[in-house]
Amino acid sequence: MPGPAFRRGETVSLSTVEEDDITFLQRLRNDPATRTRTSASGSENADELTEWFEEDVSALDGEDAHFLVVPTAGENEPAEPSTSPAAGEGDGAGGTSEGGDAESEADRQPAPVGFVSLSGIERPAGRGEVTCTIDPSDGDSSPEQVSSYAREALELLVGYAIEERRLHRVVAHAPAGDEAYREVLESAGFTAEHTQREEWFVDGEHVDVVCHAVLADEWGGT
């Protein structure tokens, strides 16, 4: 169950990642269709995800930030208290009730449709990198909807990075052949900057990667 909304947009919000969201992330980070480039170790079972959640997502030091992308309530039907595909699996999948305002708001939240992160922050330059993975488990998962969610999620995340974390430069990388994601990046305000030749090893071959960037001076906000 996503935590409270951290940054709100028109169609999606960014919400904190809570422990019982691990099952959603486990699918996202393992499914060949969606697993992100940030999973350096490869496959991740529930224990590895839990460790990642505790050590990376929940790290008290460091500047990385991770969020779930959650459609604005009313966009989708509110989720059942347990949003896990396999109810009863993992910790807290049943949505244990402890009361409190945060928990009431979380109950009303629709299921997450994706995950974004801000990492690699370098100071004093104020440079950081963002990634975005969208994969609704139900509801509309057409390419248009996925791109729309991704664009707004990235806008929210970049806005957070520049307006709250005082970053000067935010980068995002996309395989040169991933036209859809490159268009999302450009619609979210990024400029394609340069091509890194044979930078990533994907499906058995080295592929070019395009580095996109947006500078604080260019960021108009939303």
């Binding site: 350096a40 370098e122 004093p124 330059a125 104020g126 440079r127 000067h168 430069r169 980068v171 900057e193 340069h194 091509t195 890194q196 030749r197 044979e198 930078e199 990533w200 090893f201 080295h206 580095c211 960037a213 500078l215």
Partner: protein
């Protein structure tokens, strides 16, 4: 005193850092002329000075070495700089390198020789596919070294580093294993 030779060439050898070398590193890292290369001072030499274990987390299995000239053949010659391979990504087969040489030892080819040895190590021992290196766009001497070694200018990272009170563009170079001529 540098430890045993790790990589050897005609002009320089590269040795791992020993505890006794830390004062040398500390003194020159604090030298405004070469301090932290791209990140806190405009470099006068070399292209970037970062120790991998200080800056980069995650799967960073690189190497940091001292450059020791072979002049006169003394095995106990003092180091003149460092060269570092860092941000090694084994799944992609990529790594980045950086080096610096103290101002009074520049112009003698030490950075070029040391970098060449690390490139050979990266391609022939570490089986990397691609090595990158970066420099401030304004750092002509460092860029000349990278170009002399056959690296290709790949692109400009706008306002990537903050030096002397303002942001500066960085130029990224790369070399692929099939372009590595050896020697």
């Amino acid at each position: 005193m540098p430890g045993p030779v790790f990589l050897g060439g005609d002009e320089v050898t590269l040795r791992p850092v020993e505890e006794a070398d830390l004062p040398f590193l500390q003194r020159h890292r604090n030298d405004p002329a070469i301090r932290a290369g791209l990140t806190t001072a405009e470099p006068q030499n070399g292209y970037e000075a970062q120790q991998a274990h200080e800056r980069h987390t995650g799967d960073d299995s690189g190497v940091g070495l001292l450059i020791v000239p072979r002049d006169g053949g003394s095995p106990d010659a003092d180091p003149v700089g460092t060269v570092v391979l860092f941000d090694v990504d084994e799944s992609n087969g990529t790594g980045e390198l950086a080096a610096w040489v103290t101002p009074d030892e520049q112009g003698k080819g030490y950075a070029t020789a040391g970098t060449r040895l690390v490139l050979r190590h990266a391609f022939e021992e570490r089986r990397l596919h691609k090595v990158v290196a970066r420099a401030l766009v304004s750092n002509a001497p460092s860029r000349a070294i990278l170009e002399k070694l056959g690296m290709t200018e790949e692109g400009i990272q706008r306002e990537e580093k903050f030096v002397d009170g303002e942001h500066h563009d960085v130029v990224r170079y790369s070399l692929l294993r099939r372009e590595w001529g050896g020697a």
